[in-house]
């Protein structure tokens, strides 16, 4: 049943333009460092090897969080408001399964967009830039193949805090009455989180957006400790907001 629901969610998503628009935006964004490298002599020069990790910063901290809010607005807030959420429910789907299928869709889409950013970065980079062997990032030197596999690993790791974040948005999506306000609120939250991260090192570890750009994990002092903190914080957010969302959807009177 969960699989059929997931299939339905993906079907609806792929029939809409939004996902494709974001793919175009990501592609466009990857071209910016390339254009800078090419035409602005004397400023930063990007290399193919490390371009994906540079791009992870804006993709994971900006583009994907906004897309998450648009997706949740569509799948949850607007579906509830427009009365289409009940369609699965009256066909015997449980509320828990319905919520799980939407969260699985989020995870799938986040993973897809993250990997898409990486793929586009490598492809567009290798067309226009030098590889810049050896791989050099945050004072760390790696062989090219190790560099690529670390990049993939870091990209996949960013899915974890992004998923935790998407659960916060899911909960808000159940609470708010319009998709538009959800997107607005999400942008506000991202903005506030980023300001707080920069202002206070005390609250920083508790702010989920601090973990989106996993590039920081790649440093000479090793990643183990940082990884534990990333997993713990993400896990806590995930559990708390999963609980709140489940409680909300189970108790809700569906009157639309």
């Amino acid at each position: 049943m969960l699989f059929s629901l997931l299939k339905n969610e993906m079907y609806k998503l792929l029939k809409k333009k939004k996902l494709y628009i974001f793919m175009v935006i990501i592609t466009g964004m990857t071209l910016i460092p390339i254009i800078i490298s090419k035409f602005d002599n004397g400023s930063l020069v990007f290399k193919v090897n490390t371009l994906p990790l540079e791009n992870l910063a804006w993709s994971a901290e900006m583009i994907i969080p906004i897309f998450i809010s648009i997706l949740v607005a569509d799948m949850i807030t607007n579906e509830y408001r427009e009365g289409t959420m009940k369609l699965s429910l009256v066909n015997g789907v449980s509320r828990t399964n319905l919520l799980f299928s939407k969260i699985l869709t989020l995870i799938l889409v986040i993973t897809g967009l993250v990997l898409f950013t990486m793929a586009v970065s490598y492809v567009s980079g290798s067309f226009f830039l030098e590889w810049g062997v050896p791989f050099r990032f945050n004072d760390l030197l790696l062989s090219e193949s190790t560099g690529i596999s670390y990049t993939l690993g870091l990209y996949l790791l960013s899915v974890i805090p992004l998923t935790a974040f998407s659960l916060i948005i899911t909960f808000l999506g159940l609470k708010l009455e319009s998709g538009g306000s959800l997107v607005g609120v999400t942008i506000g939250i991202v903005f506030i989180m980023n300001t707080m991260r920069q202002l206070s090192s005390l609250v920083r570890p508790f702010i989920i957006s601090d973990y989106f750009n996993t590039g920081y994990l790649l440093n000479p002092s090793g990643i183990q400790n940082d990884l534990v903190i990333l997993l713990t914080t993400s896990g806590l957010y995930f559990i708390v907001f999963m609980g709140l969302s489940l409680n909300n959807i189970i108790k809700k009177d569906i009157v639309n």
Binding site: S4, G83, K86, V90, G92, S94, I254, V255
Partner: protein, 306 residues
């Protein structure tokens, strides 16, 4: 009254903050019924339907579909239910066919051919491939009905099924409902304002007002059954006596006495029984009032007859 109950509602209550939407609804729908659920705006019809479907949580009461409690056996209870709640909602950017496909995906045994069969039944076969955003209100209504029929339901719950349809469309949907009730033995629970609709197709009605059922009765004079009113002042004695009588299919206390729905040939016998027990019957009046008269009388007249 014999038949197996497909839908049983007991002591149903629901309050939204300060509005008591449903007060104390008790209701049984038998297999094979086309049950009309009538009532003025805001009576609590849609809220009752939402509770039957598990969308709104009742404050109190019990709902069983096919013997399964909607709270405990949600999936089993809804397995053979088809429904259309108020104006049917769709993913407008998808075609009619694709919208039905999303529902079909939730059932193992509903296939491509069933989707087409359903579209055909409601006369939408040639528009199945257009996006729903291009549909008229009436076409959406039909598509809603097609969706309700998709999982081969035994019970179909419809909220205002003909709203937005032209007279020809209304007639077609009524005929479709009657045909499905006969050919596929589907039980219908229909919520509507349209008295003439209920009169034409329903065999039983319940009238809801301010969240309470104020009256229930059979309306089809099936076979040789008839409504008659016994004028008597000893109403409650008469009720106690006749309540368990096998040849009486429905019974209401009325202003002047007691109304019963019974077989024509039994009327004289019932009269004698009453007399034997010392209950004085002044007159026996056969009922010829239309549902409209009846309705207006029961609800105190504020009802839109369309």
């Amino acid at each position: 009254m014999g038949n197996k109950n497909i839908l049983e509602i007991k002591k149903l209550k629901k309050r939204f903050r300060d509005i008591e939407a449903v007060k104390n609804v008790n209701l049984n729908v038998n297999k094979g019924d086309i049950f009309g659920f009538l009532g003025p705006n805001g009576a609590g019809k849609s809220t009752t339907i939402r509770m039957i479907l598990g969308l709104v949580h009742p404050d109190q009461g019990q709902i069983r579909i096919n013997g399964f409690d909607i709270n405990k056996d949600y999936k089993k209870a809804l397995q053979y239910v088809g429904t259309m709640v108020e104006t049917p909602k769709f993913y407008e950017y998808l075609t009619g066919y694709q919208n039905l496909k999303l529902v079909a995906n939730l059932y193992k045994n509903v296939k491509h051919v069933d989707i087409n069969k359903s579209l055909k039944k409601v006369g939408l076969m040639d528009r199945g491939k257009s996006k729903v955003e291009t549909y008229s209100v009436g076409m959406k209504q039909r598509l809603g009905l097609a969706r309700a029929l998709l999982n081969n339901p035994e019970l179909v719950i419809l909220d205002e099924p003909t709203s937005g349809l032209d007279p020809q469309g209304k007639k077609e949907i009524r005929e479709l409902i009657q045909q499905l009730a006969i050919d596929q033995e589907i039980t219908f629970f229909i919520c509507t304002h349209l008295l003439n609709e209920v009169e034409q197709i329903c065999n039983r009605v319940a009238i809801l007002q301010d969240g309470e059922i104020i009256s229930k009765r059979f309306i089809k004079e099936e076979e040789n059954k008839k409504w008659v009113e016994f004028y008597t002042s000893q109403k409650s004695e008469a009720e106690i006596m006749l309540k368990d009588c096998n040849s009486i299919f429905d019974l209401n206390i009325s202003k002047n006495g007691i109304q019963i729905f019974t077989i024509e040939s039994e009327i004289e016998k019932i009269n004698q029984q009453l007399n034997n027990r010392g209950i004085k019957v002044k007159y026996i009046i056969p009922h010829v009032e239309s549902l409209e008269d009846y309705y207006l009388k029961e609800t105190g007249g504020h009802f839109n007859v369309i």
